[in-house]
């Protein structure tokens, strides 16, 4: 098990689009924390640390708000119109032993036999919803597609994979 990403957060005094835009200009990302039947808290995170953590596949994070440290997972990310910058983050409180439902990306591994026979790989599902413990969330589900060939009149096959 690897260590969780640590993010230092500041509590936001003002809410609304104008104050959020100001924060983004200062290199911070507005965020909200909720869950575990506690009051939601509006915070801001450092944009650089956040982007770096997400780039390295961090999903479970330890967020330090003041002196208090809580374990959370990313619930939702909002991007700008070009899909470059993160403009808002939703975080949800979790326990390491808690069972949660998360979506995990599917990674196709290898080259399918059918591609040499004129077939085309179409990935209709690129993520799966799974239920697991917070500490055991996989980065991706790796599926080997080496053995998939082409059968005339039949599309390839999720069940066989």
């Amino acid at each position: 098990m690897r260590n969780n990403l640590l993010l230092k957060a500041q509590i936001r005094e003002d809410v609304g689009s104008k104050s959020a835009a100001k924060l983004r200009k200062q290199g911070r990302v507005p965020a909200v924390v909720y869950g575990h039947k506690k009051e939601p808290v509006v915070i801001s995170l450092d944009a650089h640390n956040l982007a770096e953590g997400l780039h390295h596949g961090g999903r479970v994070v330890d967020v330090q708000i003041g002196k208090k440290k809580e374990t959370m997972i990313f619930k939702d990310l909002q991007y700008d119109y070009l899909g470059k910058d993160i403009i808002h983050v939703d975080l949800i409180r979790v326990d390491a032993t808690e069972m949660i439902k998360v979506t995990v990306p599917i990674e196709l591994k290898g080259t399918a036999k059918g591609t040499h026979e004129g077939g085309i790989i179409e990935e209709h599902i690129d993520r799966l919803e799974i239920e697991c413990k917070v500490a055991d969330i996989p980065e991706a589900i790796v599926v080997s597609i080496k053995e998939i060939g082409v059968e005339i009149g039949r599309a390839s096959c999720r069940e066989r994979v």
Binding site: R59, F74, K75, D76, L77, Y79, Y81, L82, G83, V102, T103, P105, I120, I121, E122, E123, D126, R127
Partner: protein, 139 residues
Amino acid sequence: MAMMPKRVKHRKSQRGRMKGNACRSNFVAFGEYGLQALEGSWITARHIEAGRVAATHFLHREGKVYLRLFPHKPVSAKPLETRMGKGKGEPEFWVARVRPGQVCFEIGGVSEDVAKQALVRVAHKMPIRCRFVKRRHSL
């Protein structure tokens, strides 16, 4: 043949204004790689067809090309050497309204290198600046 609607409610439309950025169709949803518009513009059915032909020709029937644009808007024009007045001209061609951020074309089932080369060819056919984008795995 260039794309156009089968049936429309009104044959002619006013020009309208294009404000803001794309707030939908702004991420890769079908393929793995896409071509994203960085400027707003009308893109004609001929542009779209030229892009499609460029991509499919380069891919040699490998992979799959997805068109994320459709020319819904009719553009009318007056015939040459016609005096002004006498009403609005007849529909001449069809355009898609594209705002900055819209993903116009997508490609799936090929490697990144091949997809990039194909989409560069498509970008040359477009009247606007575009960039290559990849599918973003959501949480």
